[in-house]
Symmetry: C2
Subunit: 514 residues, 2 copies
Amino acid sequence: MNGAESLVRTFVGGGVNVCFANPGTSEMHFVAALDRVEGMRCILGLFEGVVTGAADGYARLTGDPALTLLHLAPGLGNGLANLHNLSRAQSPIVNVIGDHATYHKQYDAPLNADIEAIARPYSPWLKTSATAADVGRDGAAAIAAARTAPGQIATLILPADTAWSDGGAVAEVPPAPAPPPLAAGAVDVAAEMLRNGKPTAILLGGAALRGEALLAAGRLAAQCGATLMAPYSVARMERGAGRVPVERVPYIVDQAVARLAGFAQMILVGAPAPVAFFAYPNKPSVLTPAGCRIHTLAAPRHDLGAALDALCDAVGARQQAPVLQKPARPELPSGAVTLSGLAAVIAALIPENAIVVDESITSGRGLLPATMGSAPHDWLANTGGSIGFALPVAVGAAVACPDRRVLCLEADGSGMYTLQSLWTMARENLDVTTVIFANRSYNILKNELANVGAGNPGRKALDMLNIGHPDLDWCRLSTGMGVPATRVDRLEELAAALRKNLAARGPTLIELVL
Amino acid sequence: MNGAESLVRTFVGGGVNVCFANPGTSEMHFVAALDRVEGMRCILGLFEGVVTGAADGYARLTGDPALTLLHLAPGLGNGLANLHNLSRAQSPIVNVIGDHATYHKQYDAPLNADIEAIARPYSPWLKTSATAADVGRDGAAAIAAARTAPGQIATLILPADTAWSDGGAVAEVPPAPAPPPLAAGAVDVAAEMLRNGKPTAILLGGAALRGEALLAAGRLAAQCGATLMAPYSVARMERGAGRVPVERVPYIVDQAVARLAGFAQMILVGAPAPVAFFAYPNKPSVLTPAGCRIHTLAAPRHDLGAALDALCDAVGARQQAPVLQKPARPELPSGAVTLSGLAAVIAALIPENAIVVDESITSGRGLLPATMGSAPHDWLANTGGSIGFALPVAVGAAVACPDRRVLCLEADGSGMYTLQSLWTMARENLDVTTVIFANRSYNILKNELANVGAGNPGRKALDMLNIGHPDLDWCRLSTGMGVPATRVDRLEELAAALRKNLAARGPTLIELVL
């Protein structure tokens, strides 16, 4: 058995059986091994940002790693932006990056580069296999590393000769290490804070925004009157009717500061203390008020559900009924497109148990409040701030959950970074309904230009902020990659198209002209 | 004056006046400064691979750096693949990468990352400005570094507060260092080799493939019977009727070994000794025969023209007439598309003084021999092997040379990595004629799978090598970004469309279905 086959068998044996791939020559033996091993689904992306973003989406829904297969340093480079995002989502992933044969490196052939150096900043686990005999064991260690709570990036570099040489040995994947215990006294301090009567926010991150952990947080809110909040950038939160309602910290610094001004205390559960997304002249970096007492109940690496349960026990909330959101769907509006109108259409039509991937940027600022009482759904946001995350994440979410509907809300500027995702949706016939908010500009940057005090933009600056001239035709781009598309510019048309597409099988796209 | 303005003024004063940009919040002050300073042309790309590739094309034609403007680590990541390619093209470039404000870094906001670590492998010159007062001087040093022969990557990281704070000072760009002298005896050894009667190849790279340097090489070939060759991956070579003919080392290892088998000696002039692009089981990495004497007359950092002139003097070739290519245009073929037929069409129609950017991969294997006697033109190839270089490089070449026609020969698989380039061509109304060779597969990988001995591909492997299902519709993709497009599937249609498009102003695209 060659190294490549031992690696594929190790992955499948270890329960990792989806591979998002954009291979090249140095990965051909891995590709060939896919034919000899049952149980690995391999999905092609036409650009590596699709590949890494899809693995992120898959991990956000399953909690378990997918593989990526990437071609040397440039393939890694193309995947780096969505690796940045998934590192902030704390998504588990195993990257397999082909490299030149070990003996060929010395000749510095055109594709040669220092892959490890480029991978290191985003790879808490990083190794280059030395021989075919090592490959299986290295792959197993990579999986265990990826599964280490809360989930992390493991990168395995595979020189071509370690893949093609004989001597491969399948390895058993060791269990991921158990989460460490909470810091001594962490629960007692949090309990004291919840009992002292001061205005308190509980900031929830990661797994605390889902399932039993979220219910436990809802019990604390009901029992102690604490406010449940989430960072602006959430990897996945369960929300909608019947779920524990959680408020996001606003993106805009002034709004965030105003919202947090009243809190004397904040308890962190798997989330970092809130800071500004960017710095702005004469605005604070830290969003909580001066003197706000900030206490970490649990860091992301801890068992967040157990931490919240322990806190419930400490304050006597275990039997408390959690605060739950009442159903509330807006009426379907009609007429010209407004931000509140489009939010109402989407809020009214989100299907039960949908997965919403949101990169609507400025066009979607009204979406979260509008959808509080929509049918229960998962909300996935851009965690790292590198735009171009939504279309690929929608691919991975749909692969992870073939029985659920994915609704991808994408801005036109952001969508262009990874538009190749549409082709993968078409090839795999994924149930993804995409809405492109076409405002023909990097609208957020117009706000940001004002926010940083750079003055009114002139013609040259505006040319960098507008993406019209020529306008992008998303219907042509979409159908050019095999995804049927419709253009709408009125709210009743949006509602009709959305209803139809959400009921159809396979991918569709709506270009909403703003 | 703030730091951003001092930087723009420093660049313009130093003769760097084209900026390919994909900015974000942290670069807004740089963008605002563009409105206040005359003389900087700023060109938007909707994806950073377009931006860095365009800067490569610009540098290949002008020999001088363009700027890129990139947004933090993910923006750099998206540009990395074409930075890889341009590092191998030895193109000068100055990257300006915005970062969080210096005081904001400590909060590890979502977009925070170690930009320096990711930039370092491709940045021989790398600096993060510390204060607004440093920015101008750092920018000037970056330009001088980029201009250091043969041309290199300089990366300046600009924390947002160094851009927006007052205290900026315009700096004068120091002259780039003069190229170092040749190694002692380098010319004498080469002269002895050319006189000893043994079969000798002269391998030309960089500037030795153009202008007076190429003519000097032609004199040596005429005088001494040496064979002029170039690496497979050339940044820019002048060729066609009336030019000194130079043969490329073949990509395929067996062909390269067979071609080089007869040479007892090789003289390197700004090119590395030929090695295989990839390693393959039981094939050599080194392409020259065992015992071939390899001598470096000049490394890329040397003055290659002066080295060739000195060698001409040493062998008495200064007055020799160089070998020159005779004009030879094929007849225009018709009928079904064949590789030799499409090569003949292109060879017949290349306009005088055109810039040909070639990423035709397997579809274009017959192009170089067919175009030997075409109208004189420049040929730009993929130097680093990271596919997705041609469309962006065509953008930069057209910006650099508005009076010349750019013919971009692009494979469908490669084109998908950076298809956003088409939008920039449309916005800037660039005279780029693109031909997409649509074979609906990563055809080269089918060959490579066989070459690496991985056996016959099965269904799952073939799914990773075919990019049909669904077929890409390049006409829709192109018109969706504002570039008029035509589909053809016969040679006479290709000829008619190519003739028409080459005579039109502005960008056009032909999808040639193979």
